[in-house]
């Protein structure tokens, strides 16, 4: 036998042994910190509060109530059992027709019935995670690229690139104009790709935006459509947060833009990614959707969906729930109301302390501006501040650098994954930190004190998660730098 180490390494594929799964970023590090010391109001009141997880937990009571009233929606209750066999054996990748109809219906309602969706264009996938990977496989070959406006959801780096070999090229958006996507920036990114001999196959946008929580205005959407048509590239719109828009201006879907009279667009270029993970709060059910206006893409995606179909047990539940129009209408309104209340609670609480956020009206988070608290306007300083927030303030928030934000000092703070009391605790902690920081800034001006802080993370490997070693962010090449401790 006699294997050398290199032989051993070659036994697995490059993608299995490489780092393309991108789990060594602060986005995930914060999770790890939370997992090792999770907040609980009674058993661990000093623990880390999770504000890095964009979940929507505000409206489960409405759904629970519906589930109880509709036992036949579950194939495993007495009322639904007669459907058990047919549901259990149904593995057609077209999906249950009632499921597709219900999802199309829901997508239309979320957009105020200003557009309708054709159930035959709905393709299932393993969550939006699966949908984004699938669309990349359909539209691009290894080495080809998608343009993505920054800041963007960190896991795109994994979802769109890892197994597909596709590249992501940033489109620069600046905080100075609220991260607007400008035509100039698009052209610039495109040109850069041309110069580097990289073939651009499409533009990926998330609207409403993660992490900004903002929506794209009509003008911007139209300019994107013009751009992609001119370049003859695809437009993939991830509208996963569509129903989380809680106040004016209202959400405008790309589907609406396509219907406008003055818009000229090759529909074969437009694709929507959707999911129930955020709007309904069902990430566990893995309901991802690819909706394409391109027949060939629908065909191809449908075949690929074999690798991530939605469990028919879940399809049935969703079909039943989302075709209950009375329930859906009520849910959409109530959910938005609760999101708005929570958003206000957080932003007003932050404002009181002099902390501002990007003005937003959607999403499950705010884009908080802490650049005033940075020792210097660098990403190293941002990481230092982030570590302070995680380990001392005990809040898991997500640093802007992990979203490829071009300017340091921004943090994404989630607000919909906890109850009001926990939110108040979080605000209190932020209040204390801000006060201390203000005082400390004064002191520090007089006397600087360097202190080596060796933050040794001892992760408790509980039953549920195992992680590789905690790494520094790839954006911060300096290994274990001394923290400047504010006294």
């Amino acid at each position: 036998m006699g294997f050398t180490l290199s032989n051993q390494q070659q036994l697995l594929s490059k993608i299995a042994t490489g780092t393309g799964d991108s789990e060594n970023t602060p986005y995930f590090d914060g999770w790890k910190a939370f997992d090792s010391d999770p907040y609980h109001p009674t058993t661990n009141p000093q623990g880390v509060i999770q504000m890095g997880l964009a979940e929507n937990q505000l409206s489960f009571d409405l759904i629970q109530e519906w589930v109880l009233k509709n036992p036949e929606a579950s194939i495993c209750t007495a009322q639904g059992a007669k459907e058990f066999k047919d549901t259990a054996i149904f593995q057609d990748y077209h999906g249950l027709p009632e499921f597709r109809n219900a999802v199309a219906n829901f997508m239309g309602k979320v957009r105020g019935n200003r557009v309708t969706f054709n159930p035959d264009r709905i393709v299932m996938s393993g969550g939006a995670t699966g949908a984004n990977e699938m669309i990349a496989f359909c539209l691009a070959d290894p080495g080809e690229a998608f343009l993505v406006p920054v800041p963007y959801y960190p896991a795109f780096d994994r979802d769109l690139r890892w197994r597909t070999g596709v590249q992501l090229l940033p489109v620069a958006c600046e905080s100075s104009n609220n991260f607007k996507i400008t035509r100039a920036a698009l052209e610039d990114a495109y040109e850069k790709a041309q110069k580097a001999n990289i073939r651009v196959k499409g533009l990926l946008i998330t609207n409403p935006s993660n992490p900004l929580g903002t929506i794209l205005d009509r003008e911007t959407l139209k300019s994107l459509v013009t751009f992609i048509n001119e370049k003859n590239i695809h437009l993939v719109c991830d509208e996963i947060y569509a129903a989380t828009v809680f106040t004016q201006p209202r959400f405008i879907s790309i589907a609406e833009i396509l219907e406008e009279e003055d818009v000229v667009c090759n529909r074969d270029l437009v694709h929507i990614v959707y999911s129930l993970s955020k709007d309904m709060g069902f990430p566990g059910f893995r309901v991802g959707i690819v909706y394409s206006y391109n027949d060939a893409v629908v065909n191809c995606a449908r075949k690929m969906s074999s690798f991530g179909l939605v469990s028919t047990q879940t399809q049935r539940l969703i079909a039943s729930m989302l075709s209950d129009n009375e329930f859906v209408d009520r849910f959409i309104v109530e959910s938005a109301k609760r999101l708005e209340a929570r958003h206000t609670r957080l932003t007003e609480g932050l404002e009181e302390q002099g902390t501002t956020c990007l003005k937003s009206n959607g999403g499950l988070f705010v884009w908080m501006d802490l650049h005033k608290h940075l020792k210097e306007q660098t990403f190293e300083a941002e990481m230092a501040l982030w570590r302070t927030i995680i380990y001392e303030v005990k809040l898991n928030v997500s640093p802007g650098v992990s979203f490829h934000c071009p300017q340091p000092g921004w943090f994404r703070v989630c607000f919909a994954n906890m109850d009001d009391q926990t939110m108040d605790v979080a605000l209190e902690r932020i209040r204390n930190f801000v006060l201390q920081d203000k005082e400390a800034a004064v002191v520090a001006m007089k006397k600087k004190k360097n202190c080596w802080q060796s933050k040794k993370l001892s992760l408790s490997f509980n039953n549920y998660r195992r992680f590789d070693e905690v790494n520094m962010s790839p954006h911060s090449p300096i290994p274990q730098s001394p923290l400047v401790r504010v006294t």
Partner: protein, 476 residues
């Protein structure tokens, strides 16, 4: 028209094969016991519909499991939010124990080495992504499940090189065939990363012998490559010889403790699913079991692209944790499959058709070589078309399974009622009698005398393909 990816525009999804075309024809004219008694009977779908009554009765007695409740309390929110790719611990534990129980508890599975995937379809693809680069190859014994052409190759870029098995020894894998396949790969400049077998076999309906397994293990040990054992049919081994898992073979070799073969231990991976044993293909429950931590780690992350719905995990955790249910189910499942297979085999014999002697699976590997006009795949296709369109039975031609000998067909028996099976057998017998003038035969072949006028009509007959993509996804 803007360019799509090469993957989107090629046809290595393999869906143009006859395996799927038969399905399409079935879809256009599906048999129904009441409303369409002349329709095509589906015998190309390896589903297990024999034991739903057992599951339904369990569900009726266990309302919590499906009603998102635990001890009467709603845990809907908890489930709806649960997206940890490590899976619900209770479910993995129950699944690991179930896998062990199927193997007569001769081996045990560590839940922390189990990776949950959306069906075996996803499990197989994920393993390829983990074990091979684009352009590298896996060796597969023929005949094999047609879906592998899509699952293993399409998006991964991995190649399949066949290990040719023949009826001379019941399609068992021989050392010669293995070596030849390996050499063939080398000739084609393909680096072989492993061997993938399905055990029990689809489409053969047989379990691999200890000899075969040991020979395979020796081979991969010698070559320093992987062995993937797709054991999706492990719970359908209904008669002797009993099913032997590759994990048992490794255990016998003491590969756990012995440093000498611990590397081999890390290169053997098992794929499983509940689609066949429990008859739940719609729920998309698959798993990869690997002893290699790196494979488990990489595959777990990849499972993000196809996790099992938490709703389903919860239901099945409850079901599989009920040992009374699993014990009863496993034995009853065997009994009913055995009876059903016997019925098919004897019905075929009455039509002068024999099968490979099978002891597992949801199908028989049927020998219709004597009904071929000539020993060619063209003749096999002609016969197949006749069976689909005139006899109105959708069965799967061996060529779609990459069989090297024409004349073999896979015929499923567990996806229909007994009456429907009777009807199918009647139709087949009538067909054979009419076309081949075979008197009623029990137990052995007769020489065939083709009715001459029928032979002419066979050659004149035209097959119209209408490929309109209405087909459901393929099961096995």
């Amino acid at each position: 028209m803007c360019m799509l990816s090469t993957k989107a525009t090629c046809n290595s999804h393999g869906q143009d094969s006859s395996y799927f075309l038969g399905w399409q024809e079935y879809e256009k004219n599906p048999f129904h016991e009441v409303s369409n008694t002349n329709g095509i009977i589906q015998m190309g779908l390896a589903e297990n519909q024999l034991c739903f009554d057992i599951l339904k009765s369990w569900l009726a007695k266990n309302p919590d499991a499906a009603g998102f409740q635990r001890n009467g309390e709603s845990i809907f929110g908890e489930l709806a939010l649960f997206q940890d790719y490590h899976g619900i611990p209770e479910f993995k534990k129950a699944l690991a124990e179930f896998m062990s129980e199927i193997r007569g508890n001769k081996v045990s599975f560590d839940p922390s080495h189990l990776v949950l995937t959306a069906g075996a379809t996803s499990a197989n693809e994920t393993l390829m992504f983990c074990l091979a680069e684009p352009g590298e190859a896996f060796l597969l014994p023929t005949p094999y499940y047609p879906g592998f052409d899509r699952d293993l190759k399409w998006r991964t870029g991995v190649e399949i090189v066949p290990i040719h098995c023949t009826s001379s020894n019941g399609f068992q894998v021989t050392e010669t065939a293995l070596t030849e396949a390996y050499q063939e790969a080398q000739k084609r400049n393909l680096r072989v990363k492993g061997v993938l077998v399905t055990n029990p076999s689809n489409p053969l309906g047989t379990t691999m012998t200890r000899n075969e397994l040991n020979m395979l293990v020796n081979f991969v040990e010698d070559k320093g490559i992987h062995l993937v054992s797709d054991e999706i049919y492990s719970g359908t081994a209904f008669s002797t010889p009993s099913f032997v898992s590759v994990m048992e073979i490794l255990k016998e070799r003491k590969c756990v403790d012995d440093y000498g073969c611990s590397e081999l231990w890390n290169r053997v991976h098992v794929v499983y699913s509940l689609s066949k044993d429990l008859g739940l293909p719609g729920f998309r429950v698959g798993a990869i079991y690997s002893n290699d931590d790196r494979v488990v780690s990489a595959a777990t992350k990849m499972s993000s692209f196809g996790l099992i719905s938490s709703q389903t995990q919860y239901l099945l955790a409850a079901m599989l944790s009920d040992k009374k249910l699993t014990k009863n189910y496993i034995s009853e499942n065997h009994k009913r499959l055995r009876q059903r297979q016997k019925k098919l085999v004897s019905g075929l014999q009455k039509a002068g058709i024999s099968c490979l002697k099978g002891n597992a699976g949801l199908f028989c590997w049927v020998d219709m070589r004597h009904l071929l006009r000539s020993n060619t795949f063209e003749a096999e296709m002609e016969l197949w078309k006749k069976i689909v369109y005139e006899v109105r039975l959708n069965i799967s031609p061996g060529s779609s399974c990459h069989c090297t000998e024409p004349g073999w067909f896979r015929v499923c028996f567990a996806n229909m009622s007994e009456d429907t099976l009777d009807l199918a057998l009647q139709r087949l017998k009538a067909f054979v009698t009419e076309y081949y003038n075979i008197p009623e035969v029990i137990g052995h072949h007769q020489t065939i005398r083709l009715n001459h006028s029928r032979r002419r009509s066979l050659t004149k007959w035209v097959f119209r393909l209408s490929f309109d993509d209405r087909s459901p996804i393929p099961g096995r």
